[in-house]
């Protein structure tokens, strides 16, 4: 037990409080920093030796922990590239030297190289650990390969051949295979060839026969040929020489017969085979109309903006109004996120204490989901920091009093002589 010991103890107390004050200062200054996690200061006593009749004062140790686990509140922005994780997980980012870090700061912007960079200057990594790279300049296009076309074929269209319920030809000529001379209805669809050029293809419908009950005259079914014709009026075959023809069979009520084929294949000139789903085709009423048309493919265009889904998929939205899946962002989780080591720029590095990163997609079990158009704000509560500050201030003062007291005692001792 000694006076110097008391002085050391109070100095350690002052140090501890100034540590606390500096974390409070950090916390308050970063109260509006995206992805910032507040520091929590805790103290532990180091007991001095002695015992029995005397007491040797110890010192106090400070330990500072960052509350990485605690989520901050969301701030909504209107930028689609601003990302926030609701729940567990960190974005994987990379600095300019290739060092890999983890962060919750999702205020990314698309830079001129097509990489997503946050305010700390870190590049966002996607699955596979390579930076998300969006090609901003190279146009993309896609040849048409499939689509859907549903029309209503007027049911009162005259059929060149009439059959009775036994399949016997009643009047007209039995349809021969191949392209009939004329057509009944025509509609055109926009397709794209392998170079992304728009190619207009006419789809023509020709009624070839009708089956009527010989006594009642009820219509029992009808058959229509569907063909594709190019701009010059020539029939377009499917790949090779197979004719691009399909024969649709309708039942008496005007709906497609279950036995009828519904897929129609034709080859776009200088393009690929397009499979058109004709299952929405009906024959009813007295007017031809189109009920559904949707063919894929798009012309060359460069990217206009990107969109991030809640599962991390990054879509490019192109000038041709096409959307394309570019990448999928993966996030990582740690067994003890609070053990991560903070680095400048709101990033963390993995340590022994944090454990190894586990990689997963947003929304997977154990991982948070992604919000686009929001950033995670700092988790600092100003009120709490201010009260902590007052506490630290008071405790520091008390420590200086102790120091003064021991200093005065030493003075007394010096004056003994």
């Amino acid at each position: 037990m000694g006076l110097y010991g008391i002085m050391n103890t109070s100095v350690s107390g002052m140090n501890a409080q100034s540590n606390k004050l500096s974390t409070v200062a950090d916390n308050i200054s970063n109260a509006n920093t995206v992805g910032y996690k507040r520091y929590k200061t805790s103290f532990s006593s180091l007991v001095g030796s002695g015992g029995g009749s005397g007491h040797e004062s110890g010192i106090v140790n400070t330990s500072v922990v960052q509350t990485v686990r605690q989520q901050g509140a969301f701030n909504f922005t209107s930028r689609g590239t601003d990302l926030a994780i609701n729940g567990n997980g960190f974005f994987q980012v990379e600095d300019s030297d290739g060092g890999q870090y983890y962060t919750r700061a999702g205020d990314f912007v698309l830079d001129k190289n097509g990489q997503m960079i946050n305010s700390g200057g870190y590049k966002l990594l996607s699955q596979g650990g390579s930076p998300v790279a969006v090609d901003l300049n190279t146009p993309v296009w896609q040849a048409s390969t499939q689509g859907e076309l549903g029309v209503n074929l007027a049911s009162n269209t005259v059929a060149p051949a009439i059959f009775d319920e036994t399949g016997l030809l009643v009047s007209g000529t039995a349809p021969t295979t191949g392209l009939p001379a004329g057509y009944d209805y025509k509609t055109s669809i926009s397709t794209f060839d392998q170079n992304g050029n728009a190619v207009k293809v006419d789809v023509v419908y020709t009624k070839v026969s009708e089956t009527k009950h010989s006594v009642t005259g009820d219509i029992l079914g009808s058959e229509w040929l569907v063909e594709a014709v190019d701009e010059s009026g020539t029939q377009i075959p499917a790949t090779g020489t197979a004719p691009g023809v399909v024969s649709l069979k309708f039942s008496g009520d005007g709906k497609l017969d279950p036995s009828s084929p519904t897929d129609f294949v034709f080859k776009v000139p200088n393009g690929e085979d397009v499979t058109l789903d004709l299952s929405k085709t009906v024959t009813a009423g007295e007017k031809f109309s189109v009920n559904k048309v949707d063919v894929d493919g798009y012309q060359p265009s460069t990217i206009q903006s990107i969109r991030v889904e809640s599962d991390g998929r990054v879509y490019g939205v192109y000038g041709s109004s096409a959307e394309k899946l570019l990448d999928q962002i993966q996030i990582v989780n740690f067994s003890n996120p609070d053990g991560l080591q903070a680095k400048s720029g709101n990033v963390y590095a993995a340590t022994d204490a944090s454990g190894d990163p586990a990689v997963g997609f947003p929304g997977d079990s154990g991982f948070g989901s992604l919000y686009s158009g929001a950033v995670e704000g700092s988790n600092v509560d100003l009120a709490a920091e201010l009260t902590e500050m007052v506490q630290a201030q008071r405790t520091y003062s008390a420590n200086t009093k102790v120091f003064n007291a021991s200093s005065e005692l030493l003075q007394e001792l010096n004056n003994l002589r």
Binding site: A73, V151, D202, S321, A383, L386
Partner: protein, 479 residues
């Protein structure tokens, strides 16, 4: 939960109220814009373990696609019948005397002067009045024919203008639709663009009847009401060649959409709505029928006054004849030069016969009281004749009755067109009213909404003041 998160919640509430206010003010600003569709704020909230925040995710457009389509449809029907009715009205500008009345009365005066001349065949003055009546009738027919040609040409030109307009709208629409689709894919606010596109569709439906088909990402495909593709990812070509002449017997050209005839004679997929349908109906149906009626009148006039060679059954044109050449009959119709004193002819040839030479002379004795030929003409004029059914009136009647029938045919057609036009117009206005009630801005509702937003805003601001006060207390404690 902490003071800071309370502050954040209040802050987000204020931001959300501001966004709601911006949306409500957009509504109020467009209260009188008929093409505007009301938008409403879609408010979402997100709960995290540190608190909850609200935000306005987007402004949703209060569309009623069914009412919109019904409005387009009735709008194009109203324009079709309206433009047709207007065309017929223009043929009858005074509104009192229907088209063709002057022809009917011209035939009447020809008949009267013929009777007068037959009663007093020696009187050259009477003869002159027959020639005058004949000339007046010819002039009148020619004038009527020209009026019809002008009307058909005007309809043709109107169709040309409509086609130009359609092509322009379609190419504009291609741009706007592209922006809507890519904007929707990127999650941008495309409400303004969609209003713009709806307005374009309205204008388009005034020119041609359309069907609108929704596509992914708020895109549309557009078909004519007869099912021909007008727009599907890209605009289809709409073409029309204006006619150089549209006399009787000249058919107008077709309007082609995507290579398919949608208006004009023999169109394979005729449209029923829009100005094009109305003008095509006038150009290719009503006016063609009226031209046919004039042609039949001219033909009948020539036939009635034909001379017969004495002693044979050979006939040749008499008082009325046609100039040589091709083209419609009315434009070639004239009073025979040989009987017209103004052209150096002799009126007496009408009484005696011999317009086509001495062989056709019947009054061989040169009797001044000879009136048999004149009586014969009068009888022929007042006896039943057969007319072409294409003239759309009673095929078996006297020429005078035929002329009267064409007048009543026109009056009836005009009356029907006017009635249809009124009906369609009122159907359109009731549909438009319904659409506006559904999707338009109701100022009362908006005012109520403004009050609600204001109250909520004040409450959030009060919350912020309270939190601020607490902070002040806290800061006051720090010395």
């Amino acid at each position: 939960m902490s003071l800071t998160s309370a502050m954040l919640t209040a802050q987000s509430s204020i931001a959300a109220r501001s966004a709601e206010m911006a949306i409500a003010s957009r509504n109020v600003a467009n209260a009188n814009n008929p093409n505007y569709t009301r938008v409403e704020a879609s408010v979402q909230n997100i709960v995290t373990d540190t608190g909850s925040v609200v935000y306005v995710s987007h402004a949703s457009r209060m569309v009623n696609q069914a009412a919109f389509k019904a409005t387009l449809k009735s709008g194009s029907a109203a324009i079709a019948s309206g433009s047709y009715a207007k065309m017929l009205d223009q043929l009858n500008p005074s509104g009192q005397v229907p088209f063709g009345t002057s022809t009917a009365s011209g035939i009447g005066s020809l008949n009267e002067s013929l009777i007068a001349y037959a009663n007093d065949p020696s009187n050259q003055v009477m003869g002159q009045s027959v020639i005058n009546a004949a000339n007046t009738l010819v002039d009148d027919l020619k004038q009527s024919a020209q009026t019809l040609i002008d009307a058909r040409m005007e309809a043709d030109a109107a169709m040309g203008r409509a086609v130009d307009n359609i092509n322009k709208i379609l190419s504009d629409l291609e741009g706007v639709n592209g922006k809507i689709v890519s904007g929707s894919a990127a999650g941008n606010d495309v409400n303004g663009l969609m209003d713009q596109r709806d307005e374009m569709l309205k204008v388009l439906s005034e020119e041609i009847g359309i069907e609108v088909l929704e596509q992914d990402n708020n895109g549309v495909a557009i078909y004519t009401d007869s099912g021909v593709t007008l727009f599907e990812k890209s605009a289809r070509e709409v073409s029309f060649d204006a006619s150089l002449s549209l006399g009787a017997g000249d058919a107008g050209k077709n309007v082609l959409v995507d290579g398919i005839a949608v208006a004009g004679p023999g169109a394979s997929a005729p449209v029923t709505g829009g100005a094009i349908a109305g003008y095509a109906r006038g150009r290719d149906e009503a006016l063609v029928t009226m031209q046919m009626q004039l042609e039949e009148t001219a033909k009948a006039l020539v036939e009635v006054f034909q001379e017969t060679e004495a002693g044979t059954t050979n006939t040749a044109d008499g008082l009325f004849t046609f100039d040589l050449g091709s083209g419609d009959l009315v434009s070639r119709l004239k009073v025979h030069d040989a009987v017209d004193p103004a052209k150096g002819g002799d009126i007496k040839l009408l009484r005696d016969g011999g317009i086509n030479g001495a062989a056709y002379k019947h009054n061989t004795t040169d009797s001044v009281g000879y009136s048999e030929l004149l009586r014969g003409y009068e009888t022929a004029l007042n006896s039943d004749r057969t007319f072409d059914p294409a003239a759309a009136v009673n095929t078996n009647s006297t020429l005078a009755d035929f002329a009267a029938n064409t007048v009543s045919w026109f009056s009836a057609e005009r009356k029907m067109a006017a009635e249809n036009s009124t009906l369609d117009a009122s159907a359109f206005s009731s549909n438009a009213q319904m659409l506006s009630n559904d999707t338009g801005v109701n100022i009362d509702t908006e005012m109520q909404r403004l009050l609600t937003i204001e109250t909520a805003y004040s409450a959030s601001a009060r919350l912020m003041t309270a939190v601020d006060k607490m902070f002040q207390e806290l800061l006051g404690a720090v010395r």
